[in-house]
Symmetry: C2
Subunit: 110 residues, 2 copies
Protein backbone atom coordinates (compact mmCIF):
# COMPACT_ATOMS: atom_id res chain seq x y z
CA UNK A 1 0.00 0.00 0.00
CA UNK A 2 1.48 3.31 -1.05
CA UNK A 3 0.87 6.63 0.62
CA UNK A 4 1.24 10.27 -0.36
CA UNK A 5 3.78 12.57 1.27
CA UNK A 6 0.97 15.00 2.09
CA UNK A 7 -0.49 12.50 4.55
CA UNK A 8 2.57 12.67 6.82
CA UNK A 9 1.91 14.38 10.13
CA UNK A 10 4.82 16.44 11.40
CA UNK A 11 4.62 17.52 15.06
CA UNK A 12 4.34 21.05 16.48
CA UNK A 13 8.08 21.52 15.83
CA UNK A 14 7.75 20.31 12.23
CA UNK A 15 9.45 17.00 13.05
CA UNK A 16 8.62 13.32 12.74
CA UNK A 17 10.51 10.48 14.48
CA UNK A 18 12.26 8.14 12.06
CA UNK A 19 13.26 4.63 13.14
CA UNK A 20 16.22 3.32 11.12
CA UNK A 21 16.37 -0.44 10.54
CA UNK A 22 19.00 -2.56 8.77
CA UNK A 23 17.14 -4.17 5.86
CA UNK A 24 19.37 -7.26 5.86
CA UNK A 25 19.45 -8.13 9.58
CA UNK A 26 16.26 -6.26 10.64
CA UNK A 27 18.29 -4.83 13.52
CA UNK A 28 16.97 -1.49 14.78
CA UNK A 29 19.91 0.89 14.44
CA UNK A 30 18.76 4.28 15.73
CA UNK A 31 15.98 6.79 16.04
CA UNK A 32 16.35 10.33 14.76
CA UNK A 33 14.04 13.12 13.57
CA UNK A 34 13.22 14.41 10.11
CA UNK A 35 11.64 17.64 9.03
CA UNK A 36 10.05 18.08 5.61
CA UNK A 37 13.33 19.22 4.06
CA UNK A 38 15.38 16.30 5.35
CA UNK A 39 12.71 13.83 4.27
CA UNK A 40 12.70 15.35 0.77
CA UNK A 41 16.50 15.09 0.62
CA UNK A 42 16.34 11.48 1.85
CA UNK A 43 13.90 10.65 -0.94
CA UNK A 44 15.93 12.51 -3.58
CA UNK A 45 19.43 11.37 -2.60
CA UNK A 46 18.62 7.85 -1.40
CA UNK A 47 20.64 8.33 1.80
CA UNK A 48 19.36 9.37 5.22
CA UNK A 49 19.18 13.04 6.16
CA UNK A 50 17.86 14.12 9.55
CA UNK A 51 17.21 17.30 11.48
CA UNK A 52 19.57 17.50 14.43
CA UNK A 53 17.55 18.83 17.36
CA UNK A 54 20.66 19.49 19.47
CA UNK A 55 22.55 21.36 16.75
CA UNK A 56 19.45 22.77 14.98
CA UNK A 57 20.83 21.85 11.59
CA UNK A 58 20.42 19.48 8.70
CA UNK A 59 22.40 16.29 9.27
CA UNK A 60 23.52 13.98 6.47
CA UNK A 61 24.04 10.78 8.45
CA UNK A 62 27.54 9.38 7.96
CA UNK A 63 28.91 12.28 5.92
CA UNK A 64 31.89 12.67 8.27
CA UNK A 65 32.29 9.04 9.43
CA UNK A 66 31.56 7.50 6.03
CA UNK A 67 28.83 5.40 7.59
CA UNK A 68 26.04 6.62 5.34
CA UNK A 69 22.76 4.74 5.18
CA UNK A 70 21.47 3.81 1.73
CA UNK A 71 17.68 3.90 1.79
CA UNK A 72 15.82 0.86 0.50
CA UNK A 73 12.32 1.59 1.72
CA UNK A 74 10.42 4.18 3.75
CA UNK A 75 7.31 3.13 5.62
CA UNK A 76 4.71 5.19 7.47
CA UNK A 77 2.70 4.01 10.45
CA UNK A 78 -1.10 3.91 10.77
CA UNK A 79 -1.20 7.29 12.56
CA UNK A 80 1.09 8.83 9.92
CA UNK A 81 3.29 10.26 12.68
CA UNK A 82 6.28 7.88 12.64
CA UNK A 83 8.59 6.78 9.81
CA UNK A 84 10.43 3.47 9.47
CA UNK A 85 13.48 3.83 7.22
CA UNK A 86 14.91 0.54 6.01
CA UNK A 87 18.54 0.92 4.96
CA UNK A 88 21.80 -0.68 3.93
CA UNK A 89 24.27 0.86 6.43
CA UNK A 90 27.84 1.41 5.22
CA UNK A 91 29.08 0.93 8.80
CA UNK A 92 28.09 1.26 12.45
CA UNK A 93 25.11 3.55 13.12
CA UNK A 94 26.32 4.68 16.52
CA UNK A 95 28.96 7.34 17.18
CA UNK A 96 30.33 4.97 19.88
CA UNK A 97 31.28 2.47 17.19
CA UNK A 98 28.48 0.04 18.00
CA UNK A 99 26.50 -1.30 15.06
CA UNK A 100 23.30 -0.08 16.73
CA UNK A 101 22.67 2.79 19.15
CA UNK A 102 20.61 0.34 21.24
CA UNK A 103 23.54 -1.54 22.77
CA UNK A 104 22.49 -1.17 26.42
CA UNK A 105 19.92 -3.23 28.29
CA UNK A 106 17.65 -2.05 31.08
CA UNK A 107 16.85 -4.51 33.84
CA UNK A 108 14.24 -4.30 36.56
CA UNK A 109 16.76 -4.59 39.33
CA UNK A 110 19.06 -1.76 38.31
CA UNK B 1 25.93 -3.72 29.09
CA UNK B 2 23.32 -2.84 31.68
CA UNK B 3 22.08 0.60 32.50
CA UNK B 4 20.28 2.20 35.45
CA UNK B 5 16.74 3.56 35.17
CA UNK B 6 17.97 6.90 36.50
CA UNK B 7 19.97 7.44 33.30
CA UNK B 8 16.85 7.55 31.14
CA UNK B 9 16.10 10.99 29.73
CA UNK B 10 12.41 11.80 29.51
CA UNK B 11 11.49 14.83 27.36
CA UNK B 12 9.91 18.11 28.50
CA UNK B 13 6.52 16.35 28.66
CA UNK B 14 7.95 13.51 30.75
CA UNK B 15 7.81 11.09 27.82
CA UNK B 16 10.25 8.87 25.94
CA UNK B 17 9.58 7.24 22.55
CA UNK B 18 9.50 3.43 22.70
CA UNK B 19 10.02 1.38 19.56
CA UNK B 20 8.35 -2.04 19.82
CA UNK B 21 10.00 -4.92 17.95
CA UNK B 22 8.94 -8.56 17.59
CA UNK B 23 11.77 -10.56 19.16
CA UNK B 24 11.19 -13.58 16.90
CA UNK B 25 10.89 -11.90 13.50
CA UNK B 26 12.68 -8.62 14.34
CA UNK B 27 9.78 -6.83 12.64
CA UNK B 28 9.25 -3.29 13.94
CA UNK B 29 5.65 -3.25 15.17
CA UNK B 30 4.90 0.25 16.42
CA UNK B 31 6.18 3.34 18.18
CA UNK B 32 4.47 4.69 21.28
CA UNK B 33 5.45 6.81 24.28
CA UNK B 34 6.16 5.92 27.89
CA UNK B 35 6.29 8.08 30.96
CA UNK B 36 8.04 6.98 34.13
CA UNK B 37 4.91 5.29 35.49
CA UNK B 38 4.20 3.26 32.37
CA UNK B 39 7.85 2.19 32.13
CA UNK B 40 7.75 1.05 35.77
CA UNK B 41 4.56 -0.92 35.09
CA UNK B 42 6.11 -2.45 31.97
CA UNK B 43 9.10 -3.60 34.02
CA UNK B 44 6.92 -4.92 36.86
CA UNK B 45 4.20 -6.64 34.83
CA UNK B 46 6.29 -7.83 31.89
CA UNK B 47 3.77 -6.47 29.37
CA UNK B 48 3.86 -3.12 27.56
CA UNK B 49 2.19 -0.08 29.11
CA UNK B 50 2.31 3.28 27.37
CA UNK B 51 1.13 6.83 27.92
CA UNK B 52 -1.51 7.70 25.35
CA UNK B 53 -0.83 11.26 24.25
CA UNK B 54 -4.20 11.57 22.49
CA UNK B 55 -6.24 10.29 25.44
CA UNK B 56 -3.87 11.52 28.17
CA UNK B 57 -4.10 8.25 30.00
CA UNK B 58 -2.20 5.11 30.87
CA UNK B 59 -2.62 2.50 28.17
CA UNK B 60 -2.07 -1.22 28.73
CA UNK B 61 -1.43 -2.35 25.15
CA UNK B 62 -3.79 -5.13 24.09
CA UNK B 63 -5.95 -5.10 27.21
CA UNK B 64 -9.14 -4.74 25.14
CA UNK B 65 -8.04 -6.59 21.97
CA UNK B 66 -6.18 -9.35 23.76
CA UNK B 67 -3.07 -8.52 21.74
CA UNK B 68 -0.81 -7.86 24.68
CA UNK B 69 2.94 -7.69 24.20
CA UNK B 70 5.09 -9.82 26.53
CA UNK B 71 8.36 -8.03 27.16
CA UNK B 72 11.57 -9.97 26.61
CA UNK B 73 14.11 -7.16 26.71
CA UNK B 74 14.28 -3.38 27.03
CA UNK B 75 17.18 -1.52 25.45
CA UNK B 76 18.21 2.12 25.72
CA UNK B 77 20.02 4.07 23.02
CA UNK B 78 23.33 5.92 23.33
CA UNK B 79 21.61 9.26 24.03
CA UNK B 80 19.34 7.62 26.63
CA UNK B 81 16.31 9.23 25.01
CA UNK B 82 14.76 6.31 23.09
CA UNK B 83 13.71 2.84 24.22
CA UNK B 84 13.64 -0.35 22.16
CA UNK B 85 11.18 -2.87 23.62
CA UNK B 86 11.60 -6.40 22.30
CA UNK B 87 8.41 -8.43 22.74
CA UNK B 88 6.43 -11.55 22.01
CA UNK B 89 3.17 -10.13 20.60
CA UNK B 90 -0.02 -12.13 21.29
CA UNK B 91 -1.48 -10.81 18.03
CA UNK B 92 -1.38 -7.91 15.56
CA UNK B 93 0.09 -4.69 16.95
CA UNK B 94 -2.03 -2.40 14.79
CA UNK B 95 -5.65 -1.45 15.46
CA UNK B 96 -6.24 -1.96 11.72
CA UNK B 97 -5.51 -5.67 12.13
CA UNK B 98 -2.09 -5.50 10.47
CA UNK B 99 0.74 -7.27 12.26
CA UNK B 100 2.71 -4.01 12.22
CA UNK B 101 1.59 -0.38 12.21
CA UNK B 102 4.16 0.24 9.44
CA UNK B 103 2.17 -1.38 6.63
CA UNK B 104 2.33 1.56 4.21
CA UNK B 105 5.19 2.52 1.92
CA UNK B 106 6.20 6.02 0.84
CA UNK B 107 7.54 6.49 -2.66
CA UNK B 108 9.25 9.47 -4.18
CA UNK B 109 6.72 9.83 -6.96
CA UNK B 110 3.57 9.92 -4.85
Amino acid sequence: MQVSLSEIKFDANGLIPAIVQDVDTNEVLMLAYMNQGSLQLTLEKGETYFWSRSRSELWHKGITSGNVQRVVEIRLDCDADTLLIRVHPAGPACHTGHQTCFYRTITKST
